[in-house]
């Protein structure tokens, strides 16, 4: 396992997309130390900022407050990246496989346009989780993002497939312009959830304030949610789906698009 310990927190963002199993796997320790990272516009060596220990392989561990280190695990296809501490923006963006785990919090754009793999953030995440980059037609197209704490605005913006589950409260515009996939909000959301969604499912265990362009469509016991409940239980997310516990109220929208998305809001019996 390769261990990277941050020597000191950079004062401006450090762009380190080389921290990815695909880049380091076949390199010698000397080559790993010489990998380029960008501090602002200055090109530095990886060992200018990190103490590099161990042999390069499919496992990387980053230690220290890396909240200004951007693009960790960018485009990775395999292996495992663990961040012991905080991670910066664009964590696991464009990744298609493997797993990323953060013990602290992460910045904006976690899993931006990811295609597969798993990202787990134990603390809070920033905005635009699994979202499409500006001007891009679709966000995440597969994979799973799990957040233990809260998340910021525009969660899952234009996402096409995949699963996002958040334990804490999320901010405005969750599921903005969603095209597919599933968002599970166990801690609820602020306003404008599901705005302009075309397809996809948002599940909330807490009552939501929806846009006037969503229409109530009655109580619902979706069979597919049992599958999600079984999948999410070992990951620490409990989804109720027994009829005696209550029912999901189904809302369809957004009529402005006009969309066929659904928002399922849990109502205990």
């Amino acid at each position: 396992m390769l261990t990277l310990t941050l020597k000191e927190s950079p004062h401006v963002p450090l762009e380190a997309e080389v921290i990815s199993p695909d880049v380091v796997a076949n390199l010698t320790p000397g080559e790993v130390r010489a990998l380029p990272v960008l501090l602002g516009k200055r090109r530095c060596r990886l060992d200018d900022w990190f103490d590099v220990d161990g042999d390069a392989g499919d496992e990387i561990e980053v230690r220290g407050d890396a909240s200004k280190v951007k693009w960790i695990g960018r485009g990775m296809t395999r292996g495992r990246v663990t961040v012991v501490g905080n991670a910066g923006t664009h964590l696991g963006a464009y990744m298609t496989g493997g797993s990323v785990e953060v013990t602290g919090s992460a910045g904006d754009w976690v899993g931006g346009e990811m295609g597969g793999g798993t990202i787990r953030v134990r603390g809070d995440a920033g905005g635009q989780l699994g979202a499409a980059y500006r001007g891009s037609p679709s966000g995440m197209s597969g994979g799973t993002i799990l957040v233990g704490g809260s998340a910021g605005i525009e969660l899952g913006m234009r996402m096409k497939r995949g699963l996002i589950a958040v334990g804490g409260k999320v901010r405005d515009f969750a599921g903005l312009q969603m095209k597919g996939g599933t968002i599970v909000l166990t801690g609820g959301a602020e306003i404008r959830t599901g705005a302009w969604m075309a397809r996809g499912t948002i599940v909330s265990l807490v009552p939501l304030r929806l846009l006037p362009t969503f229409a109530a469509a009655g109580p619902y016991h979706p069979t597919f949610l049992r599958l999600y409940a079984r999948h999410l239980r070992p990951l620490g997310f409990a989804l109720p789906c027994e009829p005696h516990e209550g029912a999901y109220r189904r809302y369809t929208g957004d009529a402005a698009v006009p969309g066929k998305g659904e928002v399922l809001v849990w109502q205990p019996a």
Partner: protein
């Protein structure tokens, strides 16, 4: 989708101001371009046009309006989204509409006017773009106007704030392809508002020096951003002493563009207007100062280690 103000004057028969107060903030807008003038295809002038004002309070602009719609604060996104549904003939629950402060009949009437006009224009102000939802409120206005083109000709235009904001956008666009929030740190332009936009960079403390040109962030930005400007080296180019220049490490007095220096400003509809200075002054123009800074930076030895 936009046009010039000349087209608005000659063609527009439905003019909507959303979240702005042109009577006080753009006082010549009504009389020169939008509602008072007789146009080529609007021969009756004011009588041939309908003016709608949407705002959270009754401002002096409401006197000039044929129709004033008072929305609840921070309900613009909801209102625009309902309008998007209504123009497509979608049903919206009347009880749910009440949260916007307007009735379904009022919005249906507005949607009907928008669809049946010959040439509509939607001007949106800071009441839309600077309240909760921010860029998504503007996106809602732009999308609504774009979708109305399935029925008639409809354009939209932001009512810009002080200074040559449009000019900065236009120049950034033709040099980098993006209007704002551009990072050139990797040698090529990258666009990501929220990551590279000024306020966000300053609030997060992601920059270690700032050059302020033709702006006064010390007067307009949130306190954490101002604190970071004061903490790190800030250079201000401005003809006068401003809030920003007081907290800056360096203030270079420059000539006032249009008074003692020539230049080009862009009108809000992106029409470039050349400025001829009537006076001469002792100070260099912004352009001169920047050119001399660039020349001095080029003379400095490269910071990159050789061979990288």
């Amino acid at each position: 989708m936009s046009c010039t103000l000349g087209e608005v004057k000659n063609r527009a028969d439905l003019i909507i101001y959303w979240g702005g107060n042109p009577a006080e903030c753009h006082p010549r807008h009504f009389t020169k371009y939008t509602i008072m003038q007789k146009g080529k295809y609007v021969p009756n002038g004011r009588k041939g046009r309908t003016m709608v004002l949407v705002d959270i309070r009754e401002t002096p602009s409401a006197k000039a309006a044929d129709l004033f719609l008072q929305v609840r604060p921070a309900k613009d996104f909801e209102t625009l989204t309902i309008l998007r549904a209504l123009i497509k003939g979608r049903r919206v629950d009347a009880a749910a509409v009440a949260e916007t402060g307007l009735t379904l009949e009022q919005l249906e009437d507005l949607a009907h006017r928008m669809k049946t006009c010959r040439f509509g224009v939607l001007f949106f102000g800071m009441g839309l773009s600077m309240t909760r939802g921010k860029h998504m409120n503007s996106a809602a206005a732009l999308t609504l106007a774009a979708e109305l083109n399935a029925f008639t000709k409809f354009v939209t235009m932001p009512m810009r704030g002080h200074g040559n904001v449009t000019g900065a956008d236009v120049v950034m666009r033709y040099t980098t392809a993006y209007p704002f929030g551009v990072s050139l740190s990797r040698g090529y332009p990258r666009f990501n508002p929220g990551e590279f936009s000024t306020i966000d960079l300053l609030v997060r403390g992601d920059v270690d020096a700032t050059l302020v040109l033709g702006a006064d962030p010390g007067a307009t930005m949130p306190q954490p951003a101002i604190d970071h400007l004061a903490r790190t080296p800030t250079i201000v180019l401005d003809p006068k002493v401003t809030h920003s220049s007081r907290l800056a490490r360096v203030h270079i007095t420059t000539a006032a563009t249009g008074i003692t220096a020539p230049g080009t400003v862009y009108r809000m509809d992106e029409v470039p207007l050349p400025l001829r200075p009537p006076l001469s002054g002792p100070y260099p123009s912004d352009e001169d100062v920047l050119k001399r800074i660039v020349a001095a930076v080029k003379r400095k030895p490269a910071w990159e280690p050789a061979g990288v």
